[in-house]
Symmetry: none
Subunit: 200 residues, 4 copies
Amino acid sequence: MSKRPNTEQRRAEIVSALQATIAECGYAKATIQLIAQKAGLSPGLLHYHFKTKGEILLELVKTLAGLSQQRYAVLAATAQTPEERLIAYINARLATGEGANPTAVAAWVMIGAEAVRQPEVRAIYQQAIGAEFALLQALLTDYLQTVGKPAGAVDRLAAGLLALMEGAFQLASAAPGMLPNGYAAAMAIAFVSGQLAAEP
Amino acid sequence: MSKRPNTEQRRAEIVSALQATIAECGYAKATIQLIAQKAGLSPGLLHYHFKTKGEILLELVKTLAGLSQQRYAVLAATAQTPEERLIAYINARLATGEGANPTAVAAWVMIGAEAVRQPEVRAIYQQAIGAEFALLQALLTDYLQTVGKPAGAVDRLAAGLLALMEGAFQLASAAPGMLPNGYAAAMAIAFVSGQLAAEP
Amino acid sequence: MSKRPNTEQRRAEIVSALQATIAECGYAKATIQLIAQKAGLSPGLLHYHFKTKGEILLELVKTLAGLSQQRYAVLAATAQTPEERLIAYINARLATGEGANPTAVAAWVMIGAEAVRQPEVRAIYQQAIGAEFALLQALLTDYLQTVGKPAGAVDRLAAGLLALMEGAFQLASAAPGMLPNGYAAAMAIAFVSGQLAAEP
Amino acid sequence: MSKRPNTEQRRAEIVSALQATIAECGYAKATIQLIAQKAGLSPGLLHYHFKTKGEILLELVKTLAGLSQQRYAVLAATAQTPEERLIAYINARLATGEGANPTAVAAWVMIGAEAVRQPEVRAIYQQAIGAEFALLQALLTDYLQTVGKPAGAVDRLAAGLLALMEGAFQLASAAPGMLPNGYAAAMAIAFVSGQLAAEP
DNA sequence: AATGAATGAGCATTCATTCAT
DNA sequence: AATGAATGAATGCTCATTCAT
């Protein structure tokens, strides 16, 4: 008698199409027409499932942030020691190669730029950044404790690692191939190790 | 009697107005009307001095990149040792406080996002990144030589520092106040110091 | 066992939802989705019971006009003399308080505006206005006969009363609270009484 | 060196085109394209001179209200006695024939409907209604004083006249030709006269 | 009878660019 | 050099209507 709702699936398709489009053209040039075309849907349908274009963006940010969380859940299960966990985390986020997702990275960079000016995007972006920051703090605290080092500078250390990661995303998208291969993960790990040697 | 051309001044005013506007609204929302209004000029005049909107952006990227070079010229004159030069450089780019220029930083972040998709912007962005990278390589090479360390990992070290700086810019613009005060300069310096202790 | 058609009930529900919506948002903003939502039905079902949106409007006009007729049927039964009938009629249409129906009044005003441009709405609107006009003529003729006055100006008198009533509806909807309380019914009755005294 | 602004003239042309369009199609169907076409201008130009469509409407309401005021200024100069002034006023607003402006009347009716739901339109509409009401009160007070009658019911009398006038506009637009010719002005005057005879 | 997804034409609005002055 | 009106294509969004289920 009634139609079965397929809203969730359609919404996912649309969000996925936005990710692809935004990675390629940026948010402003990712027009509804273009997204719809990439999703194989009619423009009107996008507004049936999402009230505004901004709402699709918000959903994408949530999805991307969730992806990061999922990766952590996976790695946390595998790694044994705090050191392994930290290194696995860094590799999961920065290592190029098999698990790398350039589209998601490029989309994330565009979202970061959008966050500078759209308060609503900024709010969710900051939520994601905050979660990542807290996770890094926890991982670092565990690690430092294991090696018998004081946890004094964990905040700044975590912030530095976060900046290194975000900067690596930016440079990978806007200046691909200009920097040494695989520098980001290596340097992030070296950064942490260096701090251990340097601290009293 | 003679009409002296004020083209150069006008162009500078327009570029400056674009910087202010882009920092506030992003490039896409920085309309010719808005830029003109912020510069106190008429919209038509902008197209008299610049053929297209993109041309103004290109000029801004050059200006911003040049600003960085100028800062180096200043610091290179003051600093005595390679270590002082390196630290002065890092502080010049990352230190918050007196010399800090949030508008330029925000504009640079937006330009970085624009570089992902506009090939012409990307070209100049990469030029600026390349110059910064080369400068960092030179500073690091000098420094390592002074302390008697091998210059093997200079490339990756420079790339890591560059990423940390760009990431710090991004986070300062999109998530202001979320991270510890002054972490960026401190961590950049700690990053370099740590590598010295760690390397054989 | 047998499916009894609930078409008539559904149609009434839809028309009622249109009345509520039109009173609140006007006809143009009364979208099918909104009406359906207010009726607790699905949008598709509205087009099952009515071919077009305009058809629902036409039905509403008929309903509203019929309501007026019903009120007359009720009052005609109660009132004894022509004077009582006339006053009862005026009160039924204009008196504020218990019997007042602001939603119907507001909807009627919107329909009046719609009638200016939609020929099909205009036709039914005019039918309703014509019926009211005829009723007023009859009531006035009876009344004047009773008091021994010539029925010469009955047409103009009825037209004037009609205009006063429609204008009162308009002002009640678009400028509520600006005019003295209960002025409309009082002035309509005074209007009629005045004519008796004035006529030779 | 510079272009001479023609903004005021263009704005007037646009408002005039809206009046013509609104009278014919109503506000919702008066699209920017249609108005522009009727004004012989490009659609974009309408948004150069007015920020939004609603702003054009607001300007039209002001214009129409101002027209009414102007008519009073003219008639006030001509008429000698309070009675003449009152009758001249009624004729100026209601008399069909030479001075009549069906386009303005139809536009006014549509605006009245729009006022029911758009708060901003309602505010200006009520301002116009309020001015007209105050004017009627003044005219009636003067008149009643002249004929030695108490001014007790001036408010309700003025409200009744106002309703009669607005209703006459509505009926003239939505049901043209259905009512006796020239009934409105005649009945308005009869209404006032009747009250004199009736009051003690 | 009923659902709700889907369509596509139409809308107000924005904006880089042009041009007459 | 400078102005500001003018253009028109493009965009996000709305909505009556259709249709498979």
